[in-house]
């Protein structure tokens, strides 16, 4: 894992001091709320329906157990004993007091953490693959590149007042587990014909009210031009992104309105110019960062055998573990989607327990996933049963990774001032229904995502099944979408037709999944059957 040197620590400490001063000026009244707002946002502090919300950055989703422990302690000390893991691999606290915030940031800085640029119109926390460094299907660990970008984007003086927020994701596997093409910039680490590692750039993806899948803008940027190329992409956006309408201000709209060719041409021009400006860190810096991500001391020659005679354990292993690059190890996902629970929530005690488990069984490391779960990336198979028993005892052993009950849901009307409809109760109903009727396991992989309004915080466009809360003559109404995906085969879901009330939407999902079970061919997931048959027959079973 990356650890700070005295430069990194000094930068974060300077930020805490700066924010302490800004907060003081705000409380004393010399700084107006209007002027304070963008400053607090760039420190992750939002004003919500009931209180301040603080979003803490988890760079590329990677955490040490000491860091995780502090996240649990903050939940107890400054919140109501809970933390909420988000779709961008961060953690949020929903009941924060303004005057406590500088102290929280100081507590975080002690374990090399911060809330820098987790909101506001700037380059946000960089996200990545939660299996990075552990999975056999990546060409290289993507996190050193994400760390290089983190340092470059932190307090970049030219890009702190962009037209809109800017999200970057870095992956290194064709199996996209991080929704890379739904980011403002998605970077996939690739090898060229000469076997050299470089970056494929995708620009202009995003969700919200006008979703776009990012098109590829450059197939190969060499590693010693990565920062320069990113800077060119950002400069063109900062200068020409729309500022007249906040709904058209994301880079996706600029790329769409200019056209990919014209946007690329402008970037190339800026890139050629910036190449002469000497702004690229040397490759030695990348090597320095890479050394931090060296493999932990894996034991060699371990057996892959696993005693699966306990059926509940066997089910959890099947659902929640993934192949590891080293024999005898596995990647284990801890589901934060218990039946009827709030997706992504964990209590302070659960957070601290996960920290301990990482220490004992996963070389001190955890990951946050964009589907709001927690990963222990390096678990010895020989330890898996003991680990599972401890998870069971803490109510953390739900065996539903990527199942219909592994739902992404936004906060919705329960917390959010922009919502049309509630999201959490719908998620809870679906989770209950599909667990009770036993269909969850039979259905296999089925990604279901819920947003309480068109802003799409719950990724409904990218769900195999998506649910969108709309306001229909003052009552809550839910539209159903089918066929979205955020993997390597990214696609946007299509609305089936007229919406439903809360019970109606759950019934409709029951119908489409029954139809899938009747029609599926060998090895087909829900999404595959939908793609083969198209919308019409699904519509027929819902409305026919």
């Amino acid at each position: 894992m990356y650890s700070y040197d005295h430069y990194d620590q000094a930068m974060v400490d300077a930020r805490v001091a700066e924010f302490r001063d800004q907060t003081r000026r705000r409380i004393e009244g010399t700084l107006s709320e209007e002027k304070f707002r963008p400053l607090r946002l760039q420190n992750g502090l939002y004003l919500q329906l009931h209180a301040y919300m603080l979003r803490v950055a988890v760079p590329y989703g990677t955490l040490s157990s000491a860091q995780m422990k502090v996240l649990g302690d903050i939940a107890d000390k400054y919140d109501r004993g809970y933390g909420h893991f988000t779709t961008r691999q961060n953690i949020q606290y929903n009941w924060i007091k303004l005057e406590d915030t500088p102290d929280i940031l100081a507590d975080l800085a002690k374990v090399e953490m911060h809330a820098i640029q987790t909101s506001g119109n700037c380059i946000r926390n960089i996200s990545s693959d939660q299996y990075a460094g552990a999975t056999p299907d990546e060409i290289i660990d993507p996190r050193p590149y994400a760390e290089l970008l983190r340092q470059w984007s932190s307090f970049h003086p030219e890009f702190l007042a962009l037209p809109r927020k800017f999200k970057i994701c870095v992956i290194a596997s064709d199996t996209d587990r991080a929704a890379m093409k739904l980011h403002d910039i998605g970077i996939q680490m690739v090898k060229n014909d000469a076997g050299e590692v470089g970056c494929a750039f995708y620009v202009g993806g995003g969700m919200g009210r006008t979703p776009f899948i990012a098109p590829q803008i450059k197939a190969f940027v060499p590693l010693d031009q990565l920062i320069t190329y990113a800077e060119a992409c950002l400069r063109v956006y900062n200068r020409y992104g729309r500022r007249d309408n906040k709904y058209k201000a994301r880079i996706k709209i600029l790329v769409h309105e200019l056209g990919l060719d014209e946007y690329s041409r402008q970037v190339e021009e800026e890139f050629a110019h910036l190449l002469n400006q000497d702004i690229e860190p040397p490759l030695a810096e990348l090597e320095r960062i890479k050394a931090h991500f060296a493999d932990p001391a894996f034991e060699q020659g371990l057996s892959d055998d696993l005693d699966l005679s306990n059926p509940k354990f066997a089910r959890w292993v099947k659902a929640n573990t993934a192949p590891h690059k080293v024999p005898g190890y596995t990647i284990a996902t801890i589901s934060l989607k218990p039946v009827g629970g709030i997706p992504g929530d964990a209590s302070a005690d659960q957070i601290r327990l996960m920290a301990d488990l990482a220490k004992d069984y996963s070389f001190d490391e955890l990951r946050v996933t964009h589907a709001q779960n927690i990963v222990l990336p390096h678990v010895k198979k020989a330890d898996l049963f003991v680990l599972w028993e401890k998870l069971v005892a803490a109510d953390l052993a739900t065996a539903n990774l990527n199942a219909i009950t592994d739902i992404i849901a936004c906060p919705g009307l329960d917390y959010c001032s922009l919502a049309n409809a509630r999201s959490i109760p719908v998620a809870q109903k679906i989770s209950q229904r599909f667990t009770d009727n036993g269909k969850e396991e039979t259905l296999g992989e089925l990604k279901l995502k819920i947003s309480g309004c068109i802003n799409a915080c719950g990724h409904h466009h990218a769900g195999h099944i998506g649910i969108l809360g709309v306001d229909r003559k003052g009552t809550e109404n839910y539209q159903l979408l089918l066929g979205g995906s955020e993997g390597a085969d990214t696609s946007l879901g299509q609305i089936t037709g007229p919406g439903f009330n809360e019970d109606g939407i759950v019934d409709a999902i029951d119908k489409v999944t029954d139809f899938y079970l009747a029609e599926r061919q060998e090895g087909e997931r829900f999404l595959d059957t939908y793609r083969r048959l198209g919308m019409a027959p699904f519509k027929e079973v819902i409305y026919g």
Binding site: A10, A14, Q22, P282, E285, R288
Partner: protein, 143 residues
């Protein structure tokens, strides 16, 4: 024309700045003002006759002026580069980093707070080049 509250060069230019649209016709003008939507690169053919470029920030949330400033410095402009408009204390360190050497906030800022703000960052992560500061990666590798 706003006089700079903060000046990082020997003296402030005194010629009144003309709008970019008028600058094209007025071949004697040595000072020009550019708005956020205007292309700073339009000035590149005229840099050697300019002693002042005023970059306006009508709203502090509009960051286009940061790019304009850096582009001018990258092109070798050495005259006064002045930021004017809705400028808060928390922008000061960033304005310096993109090459402004004169800052004229519409509402004067508290001098003590400004002093703290200019010194916010012990070091910097990026090479903007135009501020002359070595980034952290250069320090790490003795460059």
């Amino acid at each position: 024309m706003a006089d700079p509250q903060f000046l990082f060069r020997d003296e402030a230019a005194s010629a009144p700045a003309v709008a970019l649209s008028a600058f094209g016709e007025d071949t004697n003008a040595t000072a020009v003002r550019i708005e956020p939507g205007e292309d700073a690169r339009a000035l590149l053919p005229h840099l050697d006759r300019l002693s002042l470029v005023e970059v306006t920030f009508p709203a502090f949330t509009d960051g286009r002026g940061f790019s304009s400033a850096r582009i001018l410095r990258e092109a070798g402009y050495t005259g006064e580069l002045r930021a004017t408009g809705d400028i808060g204390v928390d922008m000061l360190s960033h304005l310096r980093r993109v090459g402004f050497d004169a800052i004229a906030p519409a509402t004067p800022l508290d001098p003590a707070e400004a002093e703290t703000a200019f010194n916010t960052w012990p070091e910097v992560y990026q090479a903007t080049v135009v501020d002359g500061r070595k980034p952290i990666w250069a320090l790490r590798h003795g460059l």
